[in-house]
């Protein structure tokens, strides 16, 4: 039928556009990863073909001045924990704000404050936090960074989860209430499955922001607690950028994060849509 044919050509066009966009997006990233296998001079002289070397990866992972594996572990811990705490706090708070009988002004002030807080320059916050953490002895600990990242990402998570929570039809919640559901059951069985895509998207963003955050992580950490961005920044030295080592470190940083996200996405969405009560 004509509708079907139209649908097919539209789908072909959509695919073509997507492939084109994917190329634009992926080519520089692939270029970065490949650059990790080049010598610096081959990169700087703009040569297209090159013979791969493993030197950069060896330097990044095993040289005496590098703690890359430790930094990696730190980033993983900080990323995972701060994302978890942030999303739990933000989702619960968003649900409470939008579904519970709060006065209008409270809602606006809370969300407004979160947004204004989000506008403050992170470096200014970092030095204030350093003073607080140092005075209670928490500087140079992962706890400090986890707390800092949680708070940094909270405004965005709060607002975003607010949008997704409001998209859940009130009638469904009412129906569950009438069936005698307590709040925990309501949240688990009704709300969570419906906000699953939004939750997945927000957790991905929160994790990535934490993973790549530099300013605050630099201020609150020292050698043992430094994260991956701090390690990568060391390759941009005062007058020489070690491009190929930075590329190797970036490649090491991207690929596992990508794998984690692919698995994580599916897991989050699948896990949350289980047991949905419709």
């Amino acid at each position: 039928m004509s509708a079907g044919a139209r649908g097919a050509s539209r789908s072909w066009l959509a695919h073509a556009a997507l492939v084109g966009a994917a190329a634009c997006v992926a080519v520089p990233v692939i270029w970065v990863v490949l650059a990790g296998f080049r010598t610096q001079i081959s990169l700087l002289s703009g040569a297209f073909w090159f013979t791969p070397v493993l030197k950069n990866f060896r330097e990044v992972l095993f040289s005496k001045t590098s703690d890359f594996l430790l930094n990696y572990l730190n980033s993983l811990i900080v990323g995972a924990l701060s994302t978890l705490i942030c999303l739990v706090a933000a989702t619960l708070a968003a649900w409470s704000l939008h579904r519970m009988p709060w006065p209008r002004w409270f809602l606006h002030i809370f969300l407004g404050w979160a947004l204004v807080f989000h506008m403050f320059p992170p470096l200014a916050l970092a030095s204030a936090w350093f003073t607080i953490m140092r005075s209670i002895g928490l500087d140079n600990t992962l706890t400090a960074v986890i707390l800092a990242h949680t708070v940094l990402n909270l405004p965005m998570a709060l607002w975003l989860m607010g949008v997704f929570v409001r998209d859940v039809p009130v009638e469904l919640e009412e129906a569950a209430r009438l069936d005698g559901a307590t709040t925990p059951v309501l949240l688990r069985r009704v709300v969570l499955p419906l906000i699953a895509p939004g939750l997945a998207a927000t957790s991905i963003l929160t994790f990535v922001f934490s993973w790549n955050e530099f300013g605050v992580a630099l201020t609150l950490t020292m050698k043992q607690t430094a994260t991956v961005p701090v390690a990568i920044a060391k390759f941009a030295q005062d007058y020489e950028i070690l491009y190929t080592q930075m590329a190797a470190a970036a490649a090491l940083s991207i690929l596992p994060a990508l794998v984690l996200l692919i698995i994580g996405q599916r897991y989050i969405v699948a896990g949350l849509t289980q047991g949905a009560v419709k």
Binding site: T39, I41, K64, S127, R134, K223, Q237, E240
Partner: protein, 454 residues
């Protein structure tokens, strides 16, 4: 304790043995390292750089020699200043020894964040062979100047100044015999080697950044006898940027860029200048000495063993004026006394000729003239040592006050606009001089300004 009868005290044999050991100890000659009390572990904050690895090896040698522990906290350059600031401003500092860049050591001195080495250990004497780098190791807190009348605040860790790098092989080809000594020679040689677009006679750094084009310009400015301020050591901050010497220097700089330089000079950062050299596109560059290691590394350079080094040029009748971009090691005030003393011990060891020689062999840039006299400086690999040792006594500390970054940001903008052709040399100089004068007045320094150039 005796194996039998715990409560019976020490046996006679033990007393004799103990006395013998003590006597032996008194009579035997002591190694200097053991004579000093074993120092507590210290934490040094330093940034990642090409010469860091050599510093790390030297620290390992120190630990092996003396048994003292040193922890190195290495940070990226972007953020080094903020980390050091946070540490010195806290009630209890994280770092004992701060390796400070020329960009911020004045802030540390003026803010009272460092403890003078002579206050911690009055017996400490700076080795006479150590370069004092335009007296930046001293600070007179009363007069707020950096002169030998003040106390010793720090020991140099890396004496970084720019040198002229030039292609020795191209010189031979062109029949040029000696390195350029005067600006006239530099201009002539650069024009000889200039074959655009394959190769540029000289590549300069004209981009605007935290300290880019201004740092490139200082050897020209001071080499022509000009300067930003009249006499900082005497506390006179009158702005002399737009006097005749300054005018000549900027005109020369712009002419060099136009006639023998890179067409995109206004956008070139230091990394790109070095990139031009290592890919063979530059005949000359004037760049900080620590880039030497890139030149001979086959993984990083196409011109291995072809680059020679020289003292930056000067105008006849004036000295060369390489601007300091050095690193100094100072001791924080807000750490316990025993750690301060331990840090002094490290510096005492670091300045010895043996330590400096080990530093050089590991690839570092030594701060002691003794090393430059050593046979090592004759080796091909270390051919930059001789010109560096000749240039170091002329090193100029451009800024002796903590608000320098405001002045630098004015210079960066003005010079960049001049190089890009948006402002004439005269307009740029006048504008910069006026703004610098405003900044110095705002901060209450004794200052004045020249009449505008025509």
């Amino acid at each position: 304790m005796p194996a039998n009868g715990a409560g019976r005290g020490v046996t006679r044999r033990q007393v004799v043995a103990g006395g013998g050991v003590a006597a032996f100890g008194l009579l035997a000659p002591r190694r200097p390292a053991e004579a000093a009390a074993k120092a507590v572990p210290i934490t040094v904050v330093i940034n990642q750089s090409p010469w860091f690895d050599s510093f790390r090896k030297v620290v390992e040698l120190y630990e092996k020699d003396t048994g003292n522990e040193v922890e190195l906290d290495v940070n990226p350059f972007a953020g080094s200043l903020e980390k050091q600031r946070n540490s010195v401003r806290a009630a209890q500092g994280q770092y004992d020894l701060l390796v400070m860049n020329s960009g911020w050591f004045a802030e540390m001195y003026f803010g009272g964040f460092l403890e003078a080495i002579s206050d911690i250990d009055p017996a400490f004497k700076l080795d006479p062979d150590i370069y004092t780098l335009d007296n930046t190791v001293y600070f007179d807190a009363a007069k707020k100047t950096m002169t030998p009348s003040g106390k010793l605040m720090s020991v140099p860790i890396a004496p970084l100044i720019p040198l002229t790098y030039y292609r020795g092989d191209l010189y031979k080809e062109a029949g040029l015999v000696k390195a350029p000594e005067t600006f006239a020679e530099l201009e002539a040689n650069a024009k000889r080697l200039n074959k655009p677009p394959r190769r540029y006679g000289i590549v300069q750094r004209g981009a605007r950044g935290p300290a880019s084009v201004s740092y490139d310009f200082y050897p020209y400015l001071y080499g022509f006898g000009g300067g930003v301020f009249k006499n900082q050591a005497a506390g006179d901050y009158s702005v002399t940027l737009n006097n005749e010497a300054g005018h000549t220097a900027l005109d020369y700089y712009l002419r060099l860029a136009k006639e023998a330089g890179h067409p995109q000079t206004a956008s070139l950062e230091q990394a790109e200048v070095i990139q031009n050299m290592v890919t063979g596109k530059a005949g000359h560059i004037i760049v900080v000495v620590s880039a030497w290691s890139q030149m001979d590394d086959p993984d990083k350079s196409l011109v291995v063993d072809k680059v020679e080094f020289a003292v930056p040029p000067h105008a006849p009748g004036f000295s060369p004026g390489p601007g300091l971009g050095h690193w100094l090691g100072g001791i924080a005030r807000n750490v316990p006394d025993d750690r301060k003393r331990a840090a002094v011990e490290f510096l005492r060891w670091f300045q010895t000729a043996d330590a400096q020689l080990a530093y050089a062999k590991a690839g570092g840039i030594p701060v002691s003239a003794a090393t430059y006299r050593d046979p090592i400086s004759q080796e091909r690999k270390f051919r930059w040592m001789k010109p560096l040792s000749e240039a170091l006594p002329h090193a100029v500390n451009i800024y002796q006050f903590p608000e320098a970054s405001e002045v630098i940001s004015i210079l960066e903008l003005g010079l960049n606009q001049a190089v890009a052709g948006n402002l004439t040399a005269v307009a740029a100089l006048n504008s910069m001089a006026g703004q610098i004068h405003d900044v110095m007045s705002k901060h209450g320094y004794k200052t004045g300004v020249e009449p505008p150039l025509r």
